[in-house]
């Protein structure tokens, strides 16, 4: 109890977050029961008829469900991998820059897009890849006829991953930059005295020192394997790219909010949450084993 008193202000600081959590994450969980009901808004959660696993059965009968799950995995994994590697390369390159003000400038410019919402970013992306966009104008100078990038199911995933990395790499590099400043300068000095080139310094000093951070970030992002990015996909897709671009979240949105199939949408959302939950537990264990990282 005395400890409680000493730490009172910490608990106070925790309070707003906890209230938020309870209101928006814990209380609404009661709604999960909708997945096992034929939900009738007039009857409410308590009186709607129970249908067991019917919604799940129907969900897997729909030819869409497989497409959507596959798309979600491919897009999310693409984003996870590239969002690990590109920021790392960027951070190391930035770290090699000697001109301090230029370095700061590059860093600031690179992480600016992170603060724009996808509603705005989508307009920019379309401005670049649209039929009369920048890319087609440049291609046109070389005599290539304009391409419909936004309607091409063959490249839509690449476009999603690419633009996501472009938006986030500057921001994601911050953790790496922090890790880089943590490397003991003596190591560099010692290696330099031994005659190591700059490339060798990166390979033998910087990269090994970064391994823990990379593994940690990689493992923690496993929990996001089913988060392919609703905002981005929703603002960029169209019926022509449903076959490769439709993801679980956009599908749930269309089922629930556009087609009013509340129970089916909840079932799809619950399915996603269940898998995410398992992945988070696994990644937490892995993080503990390989990076000696624990939150709790």
């Amino acid at each position: 109890m005395r400890r409680m008193n000493v730490e009172k202000h910490y608990y106070l600081m925790l309070l707003p977050g906890m209230v938020w959590l309870v209101l928006f994450s814990i209380v609404p969980m009661a709604g999960i029961v909708m997945a096992f009901q034929n939900y009738n808004p007039g009857a409410g959660l308590l009186k709607s008829p129970w249908v067991g696993l019917d919604n799940f059965r129907y969900m897997f009968q729909l030819s869409d469900s497989r497409t959507v799950i596959v798309n979600t995995f491919i897009i999310a994994i693409g984003k996870i991998v590239l969002n690990l590697i590109i920021p790392l390369v960027f951070a190391i390159l930035l770290n090699e820059l000697r001109h301090l003000r230029f370095k700061k400038l590059v860093q600031t410019v690179a992480y600016l897009p992170h603060f724009l919402s996808w509603v705005i970013m989508a307009t920019i992306v379309i401005g670049i890849f649209g039929y009369y966009g920048v890319v087609n104008t440049v291609l046109g100078m070389f005599g290539v006829s304009p391409q419909l990038f936004m309607a091409d199911a063959g490249i839509f995933r690449q476009l999603l991953v690419g633009t996501d990395v472009w938006k986030e790499f500057g921001y994601n590099a911050i953790i790496y930059l922090a890790a880089l400043t943590g490397i003991n300068l003596n190591l560099y000095e010692a290696a330099a005295i031994d005659g190591a080139s700059r490339w060798q310094l990166i390979r033998n000093v910087t990269l090994p020192a970064m391994t823990t951070t990379v593994v940690l970030l990689g493992v923690l992002s496993l929990g996001n394997v089913l988060n392919a990015g609703f905002d981005q996909v929703y603002n960029l897709y169209n019926p022509l790219v449903y076959s490769t671009g439709d993801i679980l979240d956009t599908w749930v949105y269309r089922l629930g909010l556009q087609n009013l199939q509340f129970s089916l949408a909840t079932a799809a959302g619950l399915f996603k949450s269940a898998i995410s939950f398992v992945l988070i537990v696994v990644s937490y264990r892995l993080a503990y084993r390989y990076a000696d990282y624990t939150v709790f």
Partner: protein, 568 residues
């Protein structure tokens, strides 16, 4: 450990977005009889425009156009000339519970409102499935009896002008559970809109058939009449469709409806085969042929290369990048105001598209597609107030100061006689030619509620000669008046003056029970196939596979249900 659990639970919640609308409060589930709580001994229009002795609070949810700038400073969504009018004349207090931007935001809010089972007293929704979902969940007030008592004669006349179709549209299982929207029939008749000034420049005749349109589009493109990036024919955006369907049977700006009609194809409509069976129009051989033609045109570069992926249908039209598009009567004038602002000589004219043997085929719309929903939990006085608000809008819309957009009128759901546009077309020409005077139309409670106001201003907007109206006849000083009269007199000319050889109605304009679960999937299949064929991303042969898949994935089952409807 507590924190552990909390964080884990939070993680578990990732993505479970829908459940936020959960807790149920169906405490007051007893059906409320439409009791005469404050029944005055009045009838007819006295009752229809009854002023409540005590103020009545009406809670509403309302769409708001975020680009609208017509509301005077100091006024708000719940305090403006329309709410003050309702307060003064009828003692109705409008209380806006929530607002959402028109379009997707509003749809989403309505959807969540229905999911939570907590409807405001009144809201106007723009999709029949919202109405049926709320009705089947027992969330709506049965207004069957109250409506009979409280409708004004004007509203009654308008309802009757549809021959009972509006009442059907507003009903669920034989009970009236919403106020229907009744729009002019011509909203569902899609026309060829073409730049007459471009035709004149090239010395070309007005195209009549598909072959003519192809040649004309090619000529516009070759002549670079809309600049270097001239688009032959405008197409749909990523939110609109290549043709109107039985669920959204009207106002398909930027679709290809007249082209399908000219090939005797009616995709998206349930067609009565005359032998007790029905066919879904998209599956027909004629639709396939039309798609092949469209794919061919697209390949030749005659159709907007960004069709199906564009953000906004109107962009190339308003930028005067194209000289051909398809849409109903209001598409030119109301629908493309910026085109005239950008080029005052843009002489848009509307024509039917004919089959090779000179027939005009058109698919026809349902009565209206928006619905005023009234909550089951509303008090009888509140229901009456909402009915009176509707009567008042129909009677007094023409008298309002329209410099404040009429969209701010609470629970505005348009009711117009089905032939209002044709009537106005004919009568306005008479006024112009001096055969009648504006004062002749000063008839209180007329079925044609805007006629008098239009008749008073038509001579200010349109200059002689009157026999062939072009954009040069119009005065754009009051741009709102210009837009309305342009649409009426040029946009509705074909439907008013040219008889349609074949009018095609859908067997149903509503969802059947199986559609509630399976239609979304089939529709997606259809949209994807059709767009891919037009854009050349799939061969025309993929159409046959689509037909097979469509039937197997529930289409046959639904077709049988629609055929059942025919028997009634």
């Amino acid at each position: 450990m507590k924190r552990t659990m909390a964080t884990m639970l939070a993680a578990f919640m990732l993505g479970l977005s829908l459940t936020a609308c959960s807790s149920s409060n169906s405490t007051n589930t007893d059906a409320q009889a439409p009791a005469e709580s404050s029944g005055p001994a009045l009838s007819g229009d006295d009752l229809a425009f009854y002023r409540f002795p005590e103020p009545v609070d009406v809670h509403i949810g309302m769409p708001v156009d975020p680009t609208d700038k017509t509301l005077p400073a100091g006024d708000s969504v719940s305090n403006n000339q329309y709410t003050r009018y309702l307060k003064e004349k009828y003692n109705i207090n409008v209380i806006v519970d929530w607002t959402a931007a028109t379009g997707n935001d509003f749809k989403q809010k309505v959807s969540l409102t229905i999911a939570s089972g907590k409807l405001p007293d009144g809201m106007v929704v723009d999709d029949r499935s919202f109405m049926t979902k709320a009705a089947s969940s027992g969330l709506l007030y049965d207004i069957t009896d109250l409506f009979q008592q409280y409708q004004s004669t004007q509203v009654k006349d308008i309802m009757e002008s549809t021959g009972g179709r509006a009442m059907d549209n507003a009903s669920y299982k034989g009970r009236m559970v919403s106020l229907p929207n009744i729009t002019v029939d011509t909203d569902g008749v899609h026309l060829l809109w073409i730049r007459k000034d471009w035709l004149d420049k090239l010395g070309l005749p007005v195209p009549k058939t598909l072959a003519d349109i192809e040649k004309t589009a090619q000529a516009f493109k070759d002549g670079k009449l809309g600049g270097a990036n001239t688009i032959g024919i405008a197409g749909p955006s990523k939110n609109t469709f290549p043709y109107a369907t039985f669920l959204t049977s009207s106002n398909n700006l930027g679709g290809f409806d007249p082209l399908f009609g000219a090939k005797d194809a009616y995709p998206g409509y349930w067609l009565d085969n005359g032998d007790g069976s029905v066919t879904y129009g998209t599956l027909t051989e004629q639709t396939k042929e039309t798609l092949a033609t469209l794919a061919d045109w697209y390949k030749k570069g005659l159709i907007d290369p960004e069709a199906g992926t564009r953000d906004n249908v109107g962009d190339p039209i308003n930028a005067n990048q194209t000289g051909i598009f398809f849409g109903p009567w209001w598409s030119g004038g109301y629908g493309n105001g910026d085109s005239f602002k950008n080029d005052p000589t843009a002489n848009w004219q509307a024509y039917p598209v004919y089959t090779d043997d000179g027939k005009w085929n058109a698919h026809m719309k349902t009565t209206g597609s928006t619905y005023t929903l009234i909550s089951k939990n509303a008090k009888p006085d509140v229901v009456k107030a909402i009915l009176i608000m509707n009567n008042a809008l129909v009677r007094d819309e023409a008298t309002f100061d329209l410099s404040v957009a009429v969209g701010w009128y609470p629970l505005r759901n348009v009711m117009a006689a089905a032939n209002e546009t044709e009537y106005e077309y004919a009568e306005l020409l008479k006024v112009l030619k001096g055969e009648t005077q504006a004062e002749d139309y000063n008839v209180p409670n007329s079925l044609y509620k805007l006629m008098y106001a239009d008749a008073k201003k038509v001579k200010d907007v349109i200059k002689p000669p009157y026999d062939e109206l072009n954009v040069s006849n119009f005065n754009t000083a009051n741009f709102g008046d210009f837009q309305r009269l342009y649409s009426l007199l040029i946009g509705d000319r074909p439907f008013s003056t040219v008889p349609i050889d074949k009018k095609v109605f859908s067997v149903t304009y509503n969802q059947t029970p199986t559609m509630e679960t399976k239609w979304a999937n089939l529709k997606k299949l259809e949209d994807e196939t059709v767009l891919k064929i037009i854009l050349g991303q799939a061969p025309i042969d993929s159409f046959d596979k689509f037909v097979k898949d469509w039937k197997a994935q529930g289409g046959d089952e639904i077709t049988a249900e629609v055929a059942e409807l025919l028997k009634k």
